[in-house]
Symmetry: C2
Subunit: 312 residues, 2 copies
Amino acid sequence: MQETNDLNAPEKFPLFDLSAWSARQLAAIEQALSGWVASPADTPALAGLGDAMRYAVLDGGKRLRPLLVMAACEAVGGNQQAALRAACAVELIHAYSLVHDDMPCMDNDVLRRGKPTVHVRFGEAQALLAGDALQALAFELLTPDDESVTPLIQAQLCRLLAQAAGFQGMAGGQAIDLASVGLPLTSTQLHEMHRLKTGTLLQASVMMGAACGSASCDALKALHDYGAAIGLAFQVVDDILDVTADAATLGKTAGKDAAQDKPTFVSLMGLQPSMAYAQQLLAQALSSLEASRLDNTLALRALADMLVNRQY
Amino acid sequence: MQETNDLNAPEKFPLFDLSAWSARQLAAIEQALSGWVASPADTPALAGLGDAMRYAVLDGGKRLRPLLVMAACEAVGGNQQAALRAACAVELIHAYSLVHDDMPCMDNDVLRRGKPTVHVRFGEAQALLAGDALQALAFELLTPDDESVTPLIQAQLCRLLAQAAGFQGMAGGQAIDLASVGLPLTSTQLHEMHRLKTGTLLQASVMMGAACGSASCDALKALHDYGAAIGLAFQVVDDILDVTADAATLGKTAGKDAAQDKPTFVSLMGLQPSMAYAQQLLAQALSSLEASRLDNTLALRALADMLVNRQY
């Protein structure tokens, strides 16, 4: 039932054009990011740090997390200005994690999105500081000192993002990843590592979009389940692509997990079962959307399909 | 008029015992930090990261920033539960900055508060992640999902902390510091570097304490000025102590700024003028407190005096 990768195939999403929708959202997201991750002209001494931050964030990446925020906001009919801030904030957290993850003391990667990594281009110290400053900027974006976003939404967005980024989220997942190189992980341990490392931030993207509006507890619970399913599916597909795609397509070093002897879903389950598992998670995600009873989940549906059936 | 360092000299603060006040505050702060920077028993794989985070935060440091938060909250009669969260959050930001600042790609320091630095004890990757997770945890502490702190205060605290920690605050100051080693800085440039690197977070500590209550615009402006004066004074005194104190007293490597050819207030102004400047800034801070017309500024007064006249 999910054999095709053509998102615009009329039989799948008769009323929804994901490409056009994404293009509209991305135009707003890129413009906002470019404005918010700026080098202040009045402090020339900060130009170097600003350049590193902009390099890490702009002109790269699929912006999957921001698109999930915008789609979830649309599903609940939320405040779009709040969602745009949330979308950019979650992307800044993602971008900072890549900068730090690529550093020599971590994965020591030199290629990212087809470009030299930040520490290769700007030096390690600047990469460390750029990552730190991007994390702080994420919370700054969420707390504008004006009337555009209510204090309640600001506080909820900060809470969701902080929980997803920290010890019991992304940073914790990185630490488990680091500690597990070369170790045989059980399926439970592998799931837990990826839930923390990538799942929580993807799920938080959905919940942050939902926090920009008002939804019933049942709808929030369903979106939470949707987020969990796509968060996990994303990593399963990442592991699949790490063995099936080449570096030119991925824009990063392919096969590096296997080379570093890192446990993956493919190494644990095998390739075909991993692909079946990804489709099963997609079905779970779509069924959660049904259960949400929200009116406008077409973008969330299409994003889940794209995420699982992507080629890079 | 500020010749003595004895804070409890009756002629200076007849109605206030800073030692007793600090001891009370610190008991609450240490207990709260110890509870909030915890290793979750249900995720053994996170024990290593949790240990590094606790090592970086607990059992060390003067807790100057948390004390400023509590003192400012007291001055405005604010919500003490909110202030305790803000106090711990600002200390987490301070602690994470030290962890990252000590790393080999930055200052490459091996001794901090008389103990091996985090990367020496836990490795560079764990130090990087511990710092990242501490920053996220700071914002998590500020956004409890209960009724103890209003959404408005939560949002204000996040805004103040994010601005002070980031690009146009602490991280930006670190970047300027990094870029200025061996360079002749003007007095203006040196002031700007320190305002960002240490001043903004100290000032934010004061403003976060004030945000836990309600104060007039005039009072907030006066507290802002107080924060700016003590923020700058703190760094001037740090530079003085770097040449006048020894490592055993400081608990860190003494004379390292001079050894690294870093510009300091002492290298720019000379030792005696720096000491006079620190006293002048203290007088400015105390005069701002007068101007605030707040009732209960005794703790803020005493902290400013202690900060300028400290021996380590």
